[in-house]
């Protein structure tokens, strides 16, 4: 197992290196640069001064190598969007906020979704099942989270005054953002849990009907549950990095100074240093998530064979 993990991580590093090269080229290939939003065009000499100041006049390969060299020294550069801090500082101050909101969202949505899904499955075809599956599940999936966010602010902050309209620094600041953010993953989780539990229940039921006895039930229970857990892991696994990188809508609506919005705005504003740093974060998060999912398959169902993983 250790060998497998180490092997996957090393390959991940190699992939990351190649991807950073790809993306470095990609972001310079996209038209428009970080200093183009000017109302009046700058005289060429002034533009040249700016490009020189930020090292953007150097050939691409030179810029990439400079970036790589700095990276190896732990220096990710200065973002164009927040020029008064370094990328390291920005990530250090902004990401924890996103992580806290994200962590709470995962806890609430995954646990909540699990419970909802189980309940819906166990009360299959009853009134409660319909409510949970149709209303809550569909609402979570079909309602965009900024609509939910707006409603939450309107009700709890403006009309009732119970909670703040946004901002960060107090424990109550997390409540509304987490509720808004957790709806969608909770609905997803509920759906998949319900589907998995149903398969178990019905397999159970069928076997019960044949009065085969307890031990048979336990075998098939373990059998089937494991099969149905695999799609759940496959779909809900990547949701975790998704949530941990935040959402620009949630952070804008609730004025959270987190990292989530930068994943969108960095590309829009051609903020080259920040784009590269965020790519690294994404790469590590997802790469690790995929590795862990694969390992989880084997844990859940020992019959699953993965390359390089001895039984």
């Amino acid at each position: 197992m250790i060998v497998y993990l180490v092997r996957r991580l090393l390959i991940l590093l190699l992939v990351m290196l190649i991807v950073t090269m790809l993306i470095f080229g990609l972001m310079h290939a996209v038209p428009g640069g970080p200093f183009d939003q000017t109302q009046q065009p700058l005289p060429p000499a002034a533009m040249a001064n700016i490009m020189r100041k930020y090292g953007l006049n150097l050939p691409l390969w030179h810029q990439y190598l400079k970036w790589l060299w700095s990276l190896l020294h732990g220096d990710l550069g200065v973002p164009f969007e927040e020029p008064t801090m370094t990328v390291n500082q920005l990530i250090r101050t902004a990401w924890p906020i996103t992580l806290i909101v994200g962590g709470l969202t995962i806890a609430v949505s995954y646990v909540g979704g699990l419970i909802m899904g189980c309940v819906a499955a166990l009360r299959h075809n009853t009134w409660l099942d319909w409510l949970l599956t149709s209303a809550v599940s569909t609402a979570g999936v079909a309602l965009p989270n900024y609509v939910v966010g707006f409603l939450l602010i309107e009700i709890f902050a403006v009309r009732l005054g119970w909670l703040p309209t946004g901002g960060w620094g107090h424990p109550q600041d997390v409540i509304l953002p987490v509720i808004a953010f957790a709806l969608y993953p909770m609905a997803l989780m509920a759906r998949y849990t319900r589907a998995s539990t149903l398969e178990v229940t019905y397999a159970d039921y069928v076997r019960m009907g044949r009065a085969r006895g307890l031990s048979e039930r336990r075998i098939t229970y373990r059998y089937i549950l494991r099969t149905s857990l695999i799609p759940l892991i496959t779909v809900m696994g990547p949701n975790i990095p998704n949530i941990l990188t935040g959402s620009i809508f949630i952070e804008a609506t609730f004025a959270l100074p987190g990292l989530g919005s930068y994943f969108t705005t960095a590309s829009l504003h051609r903020d080259y240093p920040l784009i590269m740093a965020l790519v690294l974060i994404v790469a590590v998060l997802w790469g690790v998530c995929y590795i862990l999912s694969d390992v989880a398959y084997t844990l859940v169902d020992p019959r699953v064979r993965l390359e390089g993983l001895s039984q």
């Binding site: 390959i11 991940l12 992939v15 190649i18 991807v19 790809l22 990609l26 972001m27 290939a29 996209v30 038209p31 599956t133 149709s134 569909t138 609402a139 999936v141 079909a142 309602l143 965009p144 900024y146 609509v147 409603l151 997803l188 759906r191 998949y192 589907a195 149903l198 398969e199 019905y202 397999a203 069928v206 085969r212 048979e216 075998i219 098939t220 089937i224 099969t227 695999i230 799609p231 892991i233 779909v235 990547p238 994943f263 969108t264 590309s267 829009l268 784009i275 965020l278 790519v279 994404v282 790469a283 997802w286 790469g287 995929y290 398959y297 019959r303 699953v304 064979r305 993965l306 390359e307």
Partner: protein, 293 residues
């Protein structure tokens, strides 16, 4: 014909009357049937939008913006005085094209890749895993911007873009399913009996594997509509004045306190579509899964 289940065979091989049985099971599921009808209605409305809608989707009337429902406009008008009912109908067309088109493309690319990598392992699996990683790491907006600069924006390009970027979800799901199922006893039995690999993959394993993929496909429908709406501001995707439910939600969000219909009609439409397709999907999955009763 219901499949006979023996203790050690959890997923028996499929017989030729399997599809008849599946259809029979689907029909008996009342919920799935009703939802199927609703879904069909939505698709028909989408297909015949120009014939059904009372007005065009771009017909503005600047003197009657944000009007309440009336005889002239059954659901009122939007911010530019366009008939909301017509916008919803035409929106069905655009949204259904996007909502189905992109996941279909994604599935067509992803499922075969996942199948092959999950079944054969080895180099195929290695390449597939690397492909998953690379595609996940590249920022979507950058890719979209490059695409627009090379090929222009518009609906077709949006479809292709979304399809190509969504294949990873299908790919991983298919891979996971095939990883789990390839060592089942019924597969081993099939191999021992000399069933060719192709037949094994498609005829024997696929119906067992397809359940979660259907659920995923259906859940991608609303997700795709929202993602599509999110890219329109880059120039990729639905451009004004074309009607699209996702874009109508985006545009209508700030009107929530001014005109409920403008803000919530598209939400209702997407919810209806999501619900009906979810139940159809559930019904399909139950119908196709030989073990579920």
């Amino acid at each position: 014909m219901t499949a006979v289940s023996l203790p050690l065979l959890d997923a028996p091989a499929v017989s030729s009357s399997f599809w008849h049985a599946a259809w029979y099971r689907f029909k008996r599921n009342k919920v799935a049937l009703v939802s199927g009808v609703v879904a069909l209605i939505i698709l028909i409305v989408a297909a015949f939008a120009p014939l059904i809608a009372p007005y065009g989707y771009a017909a503005q009337d600047l003197t009657h913006t944000l009007a309440s429902p009336s005889v002239h406009h059954l659901l009122g008008t939007d911010q530019l005085g366009r008939d909301l009912l017509s916008r919803a109908i035409f929106g069905a067309r655009t949204s259904m094209i996007v909502a189905f088109g992109a996941p279909v493309i994604g599935a067509l690319i992803g499922v075969p890749i996942g199948m092959v990598s999950g079944w054969f392992g080895g180099l195929a699996d290695f390449m597939a895993l690397r492909a998953f990683e690379v595609f996940t790491m590249v920022p979507q907006i950058l890719m979209a911007l490059l695409l627009i600069s090379l090929f222009g924006g518009g609906l077709i390009n949006l479809l292709l873009f979304l399809g190509v970027t969504s294949w990873v979800g299908f790919g991983r799901l298919a891979r996971a399913q095939y990883l789990a199922l390839r060592d089942r006893d019924f597969v081993k039995a099939g191999k021992a009996m000399g069933v060719p690999t192709g037949r094994l993959i498609f005829v024997h394993v696929l119906p067992n594997a397809v359940g979660p993929m259907i659920v995923y496909f259906v859940q991608q429908i609303p997700a795709t509509i929202f993602t599509a709406a999110g890219f329109s501001f880059l120039g990729l995707g639905v451009q004004d004045p074309l009607a699209d439910w996702g874009k109508m939600i985006n545009d209508g969000e700030s009107y929530l306190q001014v005109s409920l219909l403008v803000a919530l009609l598209p939400v209702f439409c997407i919810a209806l579509a999501t619900l009906s397709f979810s139940f159809v999907g559930d019904g399909l999955r139950d119908a196709l899964d030989p073990t579920s009763r």
